[in-house]
Symmetry: C2
Subunit: 319 residues, 2 copies
């Protein structure tokens, strides 16, 4: 199989002009960037009179409804397959796994991209897949409608933490300025994506924070969510993932732990670790887990207090 | 007294070129925008060989140290007075009150500006006072050094909630793109301004949120910080400014009030109002305050409960 690496928007543009009956693949556990890039590209292709659909293994969560709008899948005989914001075929998920060896064009911004498609345009410097699609559409002289711009802005904003993270670039800001001119309701989008939490979640967060434990002069912070907390505040377990960021927002914390009691086994805790400068993967590795340098996870057996003691013993070696 | 309204950067530029021995006034309870605009302007005037200082009634809180850098006040015979980010002389504070009727030039972005200065440049569409200073310096062909850009970015980011709020404009994004090119360490700034909180502050937030009051089916949310809370958690009063954003993060809240008991008068509350769609300036205007369309403030007399009742009565007209 050829694995061509495309290096210019014009090469990608030429392919898009020539294709039709397109399936656009997005990654499992979809986020704002893959949905935005997929929907943005799909709406553009449709505006050219082509047939196109956006596919996902898990379906799109409700909170992205404003991006989907009145989009409906079409029926056609698939001729061309594009993946967006996907670095590896393992991210296709169960439903889309079957496409793994027949993706014609991959558009992505992950440096870890495995070049699994016949042709790939990967720009690891791009803040978001949506930024690539936006600049590509500009290059093609597209009429970027409000629904397209809304999708692309959402992906750009969510992947950069609303222009806060290291991956934000001058190009990201310039694209945002243009999207504003196109009438994107950024205030509504940002509020929905970043600010609004259910009252239950806010109250749960506050309780867990007030019960946080600190050790070693506040360098180690441990937040624990028990099954009782989750039930009391009627929190969806998926919402708990965001809690992993909390300990590190407290001044002085270098090791931020979040312990989540397992639903099916109260003497088992899923542990998330975020670090400012220490090797999180190595620490979690000592418990049979792993992950990234500053964000890792593991599972530890015991009552909450015992788990905490085990984690502290290991963490002290990394202080 | 003449009260000239300036309408172009060139008019302001001409004044800046002609002035020397300048005192730049910033508002009491200083925030990132007034410090950034004051410091940015001061550093630029000094780079032209002029003498200039930035003054504040309350001093600059420690967390803005990175903006102050190695700035030191100079000794000179004051000849010219500029105010930045000040909409009304009541915001000068005790130390700077004496300047109220002798401000030569006012540079501001509040629609509620009272045109108290001899000459005023007010652009209510500008996202931040720092954005006005940035565009002004660009107009003047200034060499915008890294310390100047760092100050101006900080004000722009903090006043727009890192490009999240309704007051963000295409110009704000374009300016940010240019500031990035100038080498501003936006990741560090944003982490410091938005993410990291002292443990006392986190615990204080937790308590105040758990005590929040909700009215009208949760459309009105009121958070109250008393002097006792501030003392108990050893919170710096400047940190309380950020609390103003909290009520609106709770699902369903359209009117987010934060009440801050005044240190010197426990029967007086400084009120911040954030709204999703209602006219915050109009509501605060009914109490003699003002500000922006979605972010305003006022001062209301009474015990906490009385203040709450007064606010509710007025707010119900805007539901």
């Amino acid at each position: 199989m050829e694995n061509t690496r495309l290096t210019s928007y014009e090469e990608v543009a030429e392919i898009l002009r020539g294709c039709d009956n397109v399936s656009i693949l997005t990654h499992k556990s979809p986020d704002g960037d893959c949905i935005g890039a997929g929907m943005g590209l799909c709406l553009y292709l449709r505006s050219l009179g082509k047939k196109a659909n956006v596919l996902n293994s898990d379906g799109f969560p409700d909170r992205f409804d404003f991006m989907i709008g009145d989009y409906q899948p079409e029926v056609f005989e698939e001729q061309f397959v594009i993946s967006v914001d996907i670095s590896d075929t393992t991210l296709l998920g169960d439903e889309l796994e079957k496409y793994a060896d027949r993706i014609d064009l991959c558009i992505d911004h992950h440096g870890s991209n495995r070049f699994f498609a016949k042709k790939s345009y990967v720009d690891a410097q791009a803040s978001a897949a949506c930024l690539i699609i936006f600049e590509l559409l500009e290059h093609m002289g597209a009429d970027i409608t409000l629904p397209i711009a809304t999708n692309l802005y959402t992906g750009l904003a969510t992947d950069t933490g609303c222009f806060k993270f290291q991956n934000t670039t001058p190009s990201a800001h310039i694209a945002a300025a243009k999207m504003f001119e196109m009438g994107v309701d950024f205030e509504h989008i940002n509020r929905k994506m970043f600010d609004i939490k259910s009252r239950g979640r806010v109250m749960c967060e506050q309780k867990l924070i007030s019960e946080m434990r600190f050790f070693e002069d506040g360098q180690i912070g441990i937040l624990t969510a028990t099954n009782k907390d989750i039930a009391d505040f009627q929190i969806d377990r998926s919402e708990l993932d965001a809690f992993a960021q909390i300990p590190l927002t407290i001044e002085g914390v270098r090791f931020g732990y979040t312990l989540k009691q397992q639903e099916d086994n109260p003497e088992m805790f899923k542990v998330s670790l975020r670090t400012t400068d220490a090797d999180a993967a190595a620490i979690c590795g000592e418990f049979g887990g792993g992950g990234h340098l500053r964000a890792s996870g593991c599972t530890v057996e015991g009552k909450a207090r015992e788990v905490m003691m085990k984690l502290l013993e290991v963490t002290r070696k990394y202080l």
